[in-house]
């Protein structure tokens, strides 16, 4: 299935450490010039996958192809990929200029050409003024920009980034996210970016591959992952979500009626794959799709009775945490009329309601998936 437009192809890539399967048969194609993020919690296999692409780790099975040809067995220094590490990993005894010149120098590029090229790259990351400094004399953000420059100076066909911003504080992180995004627009390098931060993934990537337990659960752009999560893990890992558990009562072509635990409330949901009558089902609602009302809404929408545990005025919205009678917790982000949250205070009885088509249903789920709420 080799495609000329693919920069990188992973097919059936597996990595075992003894009995433990870190990466479990991954298939992934990355197009030329694409910005793809490997997103997942720690230990989900995303970093191991990146290290196999770089050549520091080797698949137990499967194939890694760069530009159509297999690189299994090719050492990292012969793969012509660039890499930015979590802890900068600059050469401490060299100046910024020598750090950036290093990849060209080991390639035997003539001295004058190295000078030109390093100057260009320094300009690209806006570090001209720091060329003579040692890494220890720079701030964290500047060091990571040097690392970026060092990885870009030899124009690698593939740029790998392993949680490059996780050591920086929030403000600097956002600044560098914008810079990386802008850089990707200017140079046409394919970027594979690893992070556990879903917001960072959404901000940067063309496409996101969500990892869980060594497998890719879903690949798609951020909007698709948010609006059509394939399973409960993706639903809980990307964005905020509220979960309810119930049992399928009746099933028809258009949807299904679900009796929630406790047996008192019935809601309707679009039909999902793999459900049967009488089987348990997991329902999910996004906080911004739900409303909190005092009176019972009309029967066309789904509604659940609850008690307000927390009501917080946040300027453009009011954020509620509502406890249901069955002990579930619902998040609601109400942006309808945030100026008048007068009646619905802590401890008040209320109804949480949402449209049938905003209900997501999953036939299979792991209990820890729904506690996987994004940090």
């Amino acid at each position: 299935m080799s495609d000329a437009d693919n920069m990188l192809e992973l097919s059936g890539v597996t990595r075992r450490f003894g009995d433990f399967i870190a990466v479990d048969g991954i298939d992934l194609d990355i197009a030329r010039g694409e910005f793809l993020t490997l997103l997942g919690p720690s230990g989900s296999g995303k970093s191991t996958t990146l290290y196999m692409i770089a050549g520091f780790d080797h698949p137990s099975a499967g194939d890694v192809r760069i530009n159509g040809s297999s690189v299994v067995g090719v050492p990292p220094n012969r793969r012509n990929v660039g890499m930015v590490f979590q802890r900068y990993s600059l050469f401490p005894h060299m100046t910024v200029r020598d750090n950036i010149a290093f990849p060209l120098s080991v390639r035997g590029v003539p001295r004058t050409r190295i000078r030109e090229r390093v100057d260009e790259t320094l300009r690209l990351v806006r570090l001209e003024a720091f060329a003579g400094r040692k890494p220890a004399e720079l701030s964290g953000g500047q060091q990571q920009r040097v690392a970026l420059a060092r990885a870009l100076v030899y124009e690698p066909r593939l740029l790998l980034m392993d949680e490059p911003l996780s050591a920086l504080d929030r403000k600097l992180r956002e600044e560098l996210q914008n810079e990386i995004r802008a850089l990707h627009g200017r140079i046409d390098t394919t970027i594979i970016y690893v992070t556990h931060d879903q917001e960072e993934a959404l901000r940067l990537s063309d496409r996101i591959a969500v990892f869980n337990h060594g497998r890719i659960v879903q690949v798609g752009d951020g909007e698709t992952l948010y609006r059509q999560p394939r399973d409960s893990f993706v639903a809980s890992f990307i964005g905020m979500s509220s979960f309810l558990v119930g049992e399928v009562e009746t099933l028809d072509d258009a949807g299904m009626d679900v009796c929630l635990e406790g047996g008192e409330t019935r809601v309707r949901a679009p039909r999902c794959d793999g459900v049967e009558q009488g089987a348990p089902v997991l329902l999910m609602v996004r906080p911004e799709k739900a409303r909190v009302t005092e009176a019972r809404p009309d029967a066309a929408v789904n509604a659940v009775r609850g008690t307000i545990r927390e009501a917080t005025f946040l300027g453009d919205n009011v954020s509620y945490t509502v406890d249901t009678a069955d002990g579930r917790e619902l998040q609601v982000k109400d942006a309808q009329d945030p100026t008048a949250p007068t009646t619905l205070r802590r401890g008040a009885e209320c109804f949480v309601s949402w449209a049938v088509e905003d209900t997501h249903a999953f036939a299979d789920w792991q209990p820890d998936d729904i506690s996987q709420q994004a940090a």
Binding site: A54, S89, F91
Partner: protein, 277 residues
């Protein structure tokens, strides 16, 4: 803070006195011998009746003393080179290696620091007699090497442990071969540890006397051995001059170690205070 210096009141002066006394205790014998080396008395009279440089002149003019100094330097340089040549790869094995018995090997490399010198001396004496190495130049070098290697291994492996391995990986992914990454990135990165190991190796050899006594011969003598035998034959102030020379070189080398290890940090700290534009 409980032990804040300013809140101590009068007790502070007690602290000054005790600290001063300890320093005096440590340094007085050395000052004493240095003073004697400049004294004019043939019989090491103290305080010296007059000052002179005569003993230093004799030290460098008499061929038996000069030979001992040169031998000591030669042995020291050979020990330093061999100690690093063996110690640095050993440190890599102990820090980066993944093999059974690695921690045992690490402990093994430090045993010469724990085993009493006299025991090593006796062992070497017996071995060298049967191998014909007793009192030879090679014999000195190998004997001192036993004592020096632990220092090379310890300082290098400490530096290597604090050197982030992903820096070496970064060099490789940049296109460097393993050898290039090692030579151009890792070794310079742990330079201060290697230099310290080398200087310590030299110093161990430079003032080593116990092992040397067990195998000295008339033909090859290091400076400490020459002093030891001179001490037993006649009590000349040249010994004091030689001793001062030993101390001087030791102090200079130790200062060098301190400077090498602090230079990078001090420079970085200073540059960080400058405005960043």
């Amino acid at each position: 803070m409980l032990l804040d210096f300013r809140s101590m009141g009068g007790f502070r002066y007690v602290l000054y006195t005790v600290t001063g006394a300890i320093m005096a205790f440590l340094i007085l014998p050395i000052l004493f011998i240095v003073a004697l080396s400049f004294g004019s008395s043939r019989w090491l009279q103290f305080p010296p009746p007059e000052w002179t440089l005569r003993w230093y002149r004799e030290l460098f003019e008499r061929s038996d003393w000069l030979d001992a100094i040169i031998t000591s330097l030669q042995v020291g340089v050979c020990v330093t080179a061999l100690s690093l040549l063996l110690g640095v790869p050993a440190a890599f094995a102990v820090v980066r290696g993944r093999f059974p018995g690695r921690d045992l090997l690490n402990a093994f490399f430090t045993t010469p620091l724990i085993v009493p010198l006299v025991i090593i001396g006796i062992a070497i004496y017996g071995l060298y007699l049967s191998w014909g190495l007793a009192g030879t130049f090679i014999g000195f070098v190998l004997g001192h090497l036993i004592l020096a290697i632990p220092f090379a291994v310890i300082t290098t492996s400490n530096a290597l442990r604090s050197f982030d391995e992903s820096i070496e990986k970064a060099a490789i992914v940049c296109g460097a071969t393993r050898a290039q990454a090692l030579w151009r990135v890792t070794l310079p990165g742990i330079r201060s540890g290697i230099v310290a190991g080398g200087l310590f190796s030299f110093l161990i050899s430079w003032d080593e006397v116990v092992l040397a006594i067990f195998m000295s011969s008339a033909s090859v003598q290091t400076l400490p051995v020459k002093m030891w035998s001179a001490l037993r034959l006649d009590l000349s102030p040249i010994i004091a001059a030689a001793a001062s020379l030993l101390v001087l070189l030791t102090v200079v080398l130790l200062a060098l170690v301190a400077i090498v290890q602090n230079y990078g940090q001090a420079r970085a700290a200073q540059r960080k205070e400058e405005p960043l534009h």
